[in-house]
C-alpha cells in the first residue's frame, strides 16, 4: 500500500505541487469573487475551461501549430508561450466579466437573495459549457506541443521537467503579482475595502460596480492563467473539463478559507499534494473521497478554513 508512496515520494511531491499551483490560480478566481460578493462563483470552472481554449486558439490559429508540429525553440518558444498565456487570460477574463454582467449584476442591484444568484450562475455555467460543446461537437481537443518536455535533472529519483518548473515558477510569479496588486494598488485596496464592509466602502465613494467588475476580471485572469498552464502540461481540453478542476479548486479555496488569498495558495498546494498522495496510497479512485474527508476534518476544527475569519454572526 505504501510502497509506491515511499518509492516515488519525491516524484509525487513535485507532481502534486505542480498540480497544486494550477489549483491555486483557479482557487484565486473563486476566492476573489467570494471575498467581495460573499458568493460562490459557480461559473468559475467554465471560465477556466474557456481559458484553456484561449491557449489552443493562440497556438493553432495564430501560429499555425498542429498536432504534428515540432515544438518551438528559443525566442519563438517564449513568444508563443507568452501569446498563449495572454490569450488564455484574455478569454477567461472576458468570460468572467460577461458572467458578472449577465448573471450577477442585475441581481446584485436588486439586493436579492443569494440563492437566486447561485442558480443564475449555475445557469450561466451551463450556457458556457454547452456553447463550447456545440462549438467543438462534444469532442476533446488536443493542443499542439509547443514546449518540449525535457527532463532537466533527476533528484532523489524525482524528475524535474521543464514544463513542471515553468508551471511552478510562472504560476508562483502570477500569484505574487496578483497578491501584490490586491494588497498595494489603489483598485486592490478598493477591492479589499469592499470585501470588508460594502456599505462603508460605498460611503467612502468607491464605485462598487467598477470594483466588482475588476474583481471578476482579476479572478478571471488568474483562472485563465491556470488554463494556460493546464494546456501546457496536459495538452488537452474538452468542454467538460471545468467541472472536475473547478470542484477541486473550489475545495482548495474552502480549505484555505474562502475569501482569503493566502488561503487559496495554501489550500491549492495542499490539495494538489493530497490528491497525488491519496492516489498513490489508496488508489486513484479514492482521491476525491480522501479530499472531502480532509475537508470535513479541517472544517470541523476550523469552521472557516485554515485562514478564514470566523463567520459567527453574534457580534451583538
Amino acid at each position: 500500500m505504501f510502497t509506491v508512496f515511499i518509492d516515488q515520494f519525491w516524484q509525487l511531491t513535485i507532481s502534486g505541487i505542480a498540480l497544486g499551483f494550477i489549483y491555486v490560480l483557479i482557487a484565486l478566481g473563486y476566492t476573489m469573487v467570494y471575498g467581495v460578493l460573499r458568493m460562490i462563483n459557480f461559473a468559475n470552472s467554465e471560465i477556466f475551461m474557456w481559458g484553456t481554449f484561449g491557449a489552443i486558439v493562440a497556438s493553432r490559429d495564430l501560429f499555425g501549430y498542429n498536432q504534428t508540429s515540432e515544438p518551438a525553440h528559443g525566442a519563438k518558444l517564449a513568444l508563443v508561450l507568452f501569446i498563449q498565456l495572454f490569450a488564455s487570460m484574455a478569454f477567461a477574463g472576458l468570460t468572467a466579466v460577461t458572467v458578472e454582467f449577465v448573471a450577477y449584476r442585475r441581481l446584485r442591484a436588486k439586493g436579492t437573495n443569494r440563492l437566486a444568484t447561485l442558480i443564475s450562475a449555475i445557469g450561466m455555467s451551463m450556457v458556457l459549457s454547452e456553447v463550447m460543446r456545440l462549438l467543438t461537437a462534444s469532442r476533446p481537443v488536443g493542443s499542439p506541443r509547443i514546449l518540449e518536455k525535457v527532463i532537466l535533472v533527476e533528484v532523489w529519483g524525482a524528475q524535474i521537467r521543464l514544463d513542471t518548473l515553468i508551471t511552478i515558477m510562472a504560476a508562483g510569479a502570477i500569484f505574487i503579482i496578483l497578491e501584490r496588486f490586491v494588497k498595494l494598488s489603489r483598485m486592490g485596496k478598493a477591492i479589499r475595502a469592499v470585501s470588508m464592509n460594502e456599505d462603508a466602502a460605498k460611503l467612502m465613494g468607491i464605485n462598487l460596480n467598477r470594483v466588482i467588475t475588476t474583481t471578476f476580471l482579476v479572478g478571471g485572469l488568474a483562472t485563465g492563467a491556470a488554463g494556460f498552464f493546464y494546456i501546457t502540461v496536459y495538452e488537452y481540453t474538452k468542454f467538460n473539463i471545468g467541472f472536475t478542476m473547478g470542484l477541486a479548486a473550489f475545495t482548495a479555496a474552502v480549505i484555505g478559507g474562502i475569501g482569503n488569498i493566502r488561503g487559496a495558495f495554501f489550500g491549492g498546494v495542499s490539495l494538489g499534494l493530497a490528491e497525488v498522495y491519496a492516489s498513490a496510497i489508496l488508489g486513484t479512485q479514492w482521491k476525491s473521497v480522501t479530499i472531502f474527508i480532509v475537508l470535513v476534518l479541517v472544517l470541523l476544527f476550523k469552521p472557516s478554513g485554515l485562514f478564514g475569519e470566523a463567520v459567527t454572526q453574534t457580534r451583538a
Binding site: L107, L115, I122, V131, V254, P303, T314
Partner: protein, 342 residues
C-alpha cells in the same frame, strides 16, 4: 392588471373561501393533478420520451425531491448541495434488498427512508454546525462520496449498477405495467400529497417556527431558546427521508440503477427547481420541480441545444424573478384581514 400577482391571487381565493369551499378546491386540484397522465395527447405531449413516463420521472419525482430539499434549504436556510446522496441511498437500498431478499417495494420503502434518515443524522451531527457555503461544500462532498463508494465497492456491482429491480406489487388489484405508467404516477402523487400534508402540519407549529427562526437569524433563534442543532438535524433528516423515499420509487420505476445516475448534477438540478419555483413556498417549489423536470423533455425538438436553452431559462428567470415564479408568501395582508374578522 398591473399589480397582478399569481401568488397573491391564489392566496386571496384561499383566504376568502370557507371550510367547504376549501375542501372543494383541494379535491379539484388533486383530481386535476391525478388526471394529468391523460393529457398526453394535448400540447403537453413530449416529442420523444413517453409522456406518462416523463410524468413519473423526472416530473413527479423531481417535485417530491424538491419538496424534500425545500425543507432543508427553503424552510431552515441550510444550503445543501449533496441532496442526491439520500436519493442514491434510497435507490440503492431498494436495489440491494430487491437483489438479495424477497422484499417488495412497499416493504423496502420504510427501510429506504430509514437508511436515508440515518445517513442524514450521521452527516448532520458533525457538519450542521457549519454555516452557509461551508455547509454547502461539505454536503456536496458527501454526495460525491456516496457516488464514489457505490462505484468502487463490489457489493453494489460497481459501475455496472444493479439491474433487475422488481416492479412494485399490484395495488388494489391493479398491476404496474411498463408501457403504462399511470399507476406509478398516482403512487408518486400520493407520496407528494403526504409530503405536502407533513410540511404544512410542521410549518404552522413549533418546528416550522424553529426552522423559520433559524433561517432568519440562527444565533438569535438559539438565544430565544430554540434548540437549533436539534431542529437543523430534524430538518436535514426529514429532507433526507423524502429524498430516500424518492430514491426507492425511482429504483422501482427504473428497474436499473447505476452510480452515474447519482451525480452532483442531480443535486444542483433539484436545488434549481426549488429556487426557480420559489424557495420556501410549497406551491412554488412544486411548480419549479414540475417545470424543470418537464422542460428538457418537452424541448427535445431543439435536441442539441436543449441544455443551452435550459441554462438560459435559468439565467433569465432568476434575473427577472429572483424570488422564483411563486415567491415565499408574505402573509401579512392575509393575516391582518383574518385578525380583523376574528
Amino acid at each position: 392588471m398591473k399589480n397582478f400577482n399569481l401568488r397573491d391571487f391564489g392566496a386571496g381565493i384561499w383566504e376568502r373561501s370557507n371550510r367547504y369551499q376549501r375542501v372543494a378546491i383541494v379535491l379539484v386540484t388533486i383530481t386535476l393533478a391525478a388526471l394529468l397522465p391523460f393529457a398526453g395527447a394535448s400540447f403537453l405531449a413530449t416529442p420523444v420520451a413517453a409522456y406518462d413516463a416523463v410524468l413519473v420521472y423526472p416530473v413527479a419525482i423531481f417535485v417530491l425531491m424538491s419538496l424534500g430539499l425545500n425543507i432543508v434549504v427553503g424552510k431552515s436556510g441550510m444550503l445543501d448541495l449533496g441532496y442526491v446522496a439520500f436519493f442514491a441511498i434510497g435507490a440503492y437500498t431498494n436495489g440491494l434488498l430487491s437483489m438479495h431478499t424477497g422484499l417488495n417495494t412497499w416493504e423496502i420503502m420504510p427501510i429506504g427512508i430509514g437508511a436515508a434518515m440515518f445517513a442524514g443524522v450521521l452527516l448532520g451531527i458533525p457538519t450542521l454546525r457549519l454555516r452557509g457555503d461551508y455547509l454547502a461544500i461539505v454536503t456536496l462532498g458527501f454526495g460525491e462520496i456516496i457516488r464514489i463508494v457505490a462505484l468502487n465497492v463490489s457489493w453494489t456491482n460497481g459501475p455496472n449498477g444493479i439491474s433487475g429491480i422488481q416492479m412494485p406489487p399490484p395495488i388494489l388489484g391493479k398491476e404496474f405495467a411498463l408501457d403504462d405508467q399511470k399507476l406509478f404516477f398516482w403512487v408518486v402523487l400520493v407520496m407528494i400529497l403526504l409530503t405536502i400534508w407533513m410540511i404544512r402540519r410542521l410549518t404552522v407549529r413549533r418546528p416550522g417556527r424553529a426552522w423559520e427562526a433559524i433561517r432568519q437569524d440562527e444565533d438569535a433563534a438559539e438565544l430565544m431558546g430554540v434548540p437549533t442543532l436539534k431542529y437543523k438535524i430534524w430538518s436535514f433528516t426529514l429532507g433526507a427521508a423524502i429524498g430516500g423515499a424518492a430514491g426507492v420509487l425511482y429504483a422501482a420505476k427504473n428497474l436499473f440503477i447505476s452510480p452515474e445516475m447519482f451525480t452532483l448534477n442531480v443535486s444542483i438540478l433539484i436545488l434549481a427547481c426549488v429556487v426557480f419555483g420559489g424557495i420556501g413556498n410549497i406551491w412554488g417549489v412544486i411548480l419549479g420541480g414540475a417545470i424543470l423536470g418537464y422542460l428538457p423533455d418537452r424541448i427535445r425538438f431543439i435536441s442539441d441545444a436543449r441544455l443551452l436553452v435550459f441554462g438560459l431559462v435559468l439565467v433569465v428567470v432568476m434575473n427577472f424573478r429572483p424570488d422564483g415564479l411563486l415567491p415565499r408568501k408574505k402573509r401579512e395582508k392575509a393575516l391582518v384581514k383574518k385578525g380583523a374578522s376574528a
